[in-house]
Subunit: 215 residues, 3 copies
């Protein structure tokens, strides 16, 4: 069998992964967008709906990751190294987990007002997931590696921005908030949101190491 | 050499892992059972003993994991993928770590009364480790895959139950506990216990991906 | 081609990793040493400088890790298993992250006095990184495996010591500190420092599994 036919033979198996990656990325953007809407919503009933929507989307994200793990276990041929696929999928899943974690805390702690830092972090997470989706969509035809590296650079710069906002907000909490229980509430929500942007940076790192191998 | 003889040749090396997995699972059930006893014990002296026992069992669990890692490093042939064995062992070890973490906090924070949520979480962890042990015992003769998947389903449902109990307990803490230091103590113990059930779900996920590969 | 020539052929690629490991270890010792200096400095301006230095060194450590990941992705031949190199590098990077995390908290929380426990933990981290550097330097010519295992034993014993100091300090905080916000500040700094020694133990574990494979 010529090398050419071998590739044709394996290609279909190989290509099963890309729609799964795209699905996962699409649902990640969705959950980040609902989170962004949540922190900009004043109406309590509407908020309850959005919190429920985040919870449902987190389950959908879990299922997306699960499908990829099963596909990975059942496939002999994979488009990238198995470990990279595992890391890519689990890091994306963790972004969704931290968004869900922030939303759960907002509900559990009955937080009714959002500080500018929380609103800004939710916006940055949303932007970061849009960049991620762009990069992941490009994976399937690696003609334009530059598009992926550019998205990774923007994800890293968003993470740095989120870091600064988190540090300033936490320092100001310790300066001004005299009620320890309020301080804990605010700090934990900020921390879940900031960690979501860290996880996006992890995804960018995995993407970069995939690019090095195939280029 | 016929394929059949090759398998016979490799089998002994291969089978070294199963008693190690069983050992690790047995000690995990033990530590979870002592934790369950601890939160149901009123006598302070008896509690000190149980805390000491948990500490000792955590060391034993560490050694079990360590033996598996060494066996893994020294073996060319492994019954499952090396990465799966590594993940299986480290996730089981983390369950023991979080149980130990909860016990350490109970001691350090001088907690003397346990809420129904803490008692229920300790019970769920114990149940979860018994399911894990069952699944791990079945690994050595994969005749009845169904037994393993059934145990995994039950572990996932225990984790969901633990999640609900944790969320309700933390929301109620923030509603009712006005002493911030008490709130921190209770929240951290709940959180260590709830994370132990998350880790059990991780083990179930690894088991599932092992099954996909060998079935 | 004789086996001998094959080794000569691959050796140069293979050996690219060792200077990168040494660089990472050298910068880790530096950041730990500045942290040790920081907690022993009373002058506030000097402290600001040291905090800035830790931040810069954390970026350098990040770049060291990044270089190793890229080298790993681009290399067909590696001196140890790819997964071990990945774990080695990421665990070392996490030590630097936790040192940086402790320093950031000291700045954000405007902590002006350091307890004996904090000073001792910073000293233990510094010692632990020196042992790590010693072990990593030895990796390149595995003539004296004993030097590496001895360093690993000392790292484990430092971690146990750090654990005891952390437990005693946290128990004493909950006994004596009545201001919940101060308690949170102190506890989080102690916790970041203690976790740095845990990560050093992780590095020692990876080193041990590398030794088992090559001996």
């Amino acid at each position: 069998m010529a090398l050419d036919s071998i590739f044709k033979f394996f290609a279909p198996k190989d290509r099963k992964f890309f729609p799964l990656f795209d699905d996962q990325a699409t649902n990640l953007v969705k959950i980040a967008s609902v989170m962004h809407e949540l922190v900009n919503t004043m109406d309590q009933n509407k908020r309850k709906e959005l919190e429920k929507e985040i919870e449902d989307l987190e389950h959908v994200c879990d299922q997306c990751a699960h499908k990829i793990y099963l596909e990975l276990s059942g496939s002999f041929i994979t488009p990238f190294d198995r470990e990279d696929i595992h890391r890519l999928t689990s890091s994306i899943d963790e972004i969704a987990d931290y968004i869900h974690g922030a939303s759960k805390r907002i509900a559990m702690y009955k937080v009714t007002e959002f500080t500018p830092a929380i609103i800004k972090l939710a916006e940055l997470i949303h932007q970061s997931t849009i960049e991620l989706q762009r990069a992941i969509n490009e994976l399937k035809n690696i003609r334009n590696i530059r598009n992926i590296t550019d998205a990774c650079v923007r994800i890293n710069s968003i993470e740095n921005h989120a870091d600064d906002i988190y540090d300033t907000a936490v320092a100001s909490l310790f300066d001004n908030e005299k009620d320890a229980i309020n301080l804990i509430k605010q700090k934990e929500i900020l921390s879940a949101l900031e960690t979501a942007t860290d996880m996006a940076e992890d995804v960018a790192n995995v993407l970069e190491s995939i690019l090095v191998k195939i280029s």
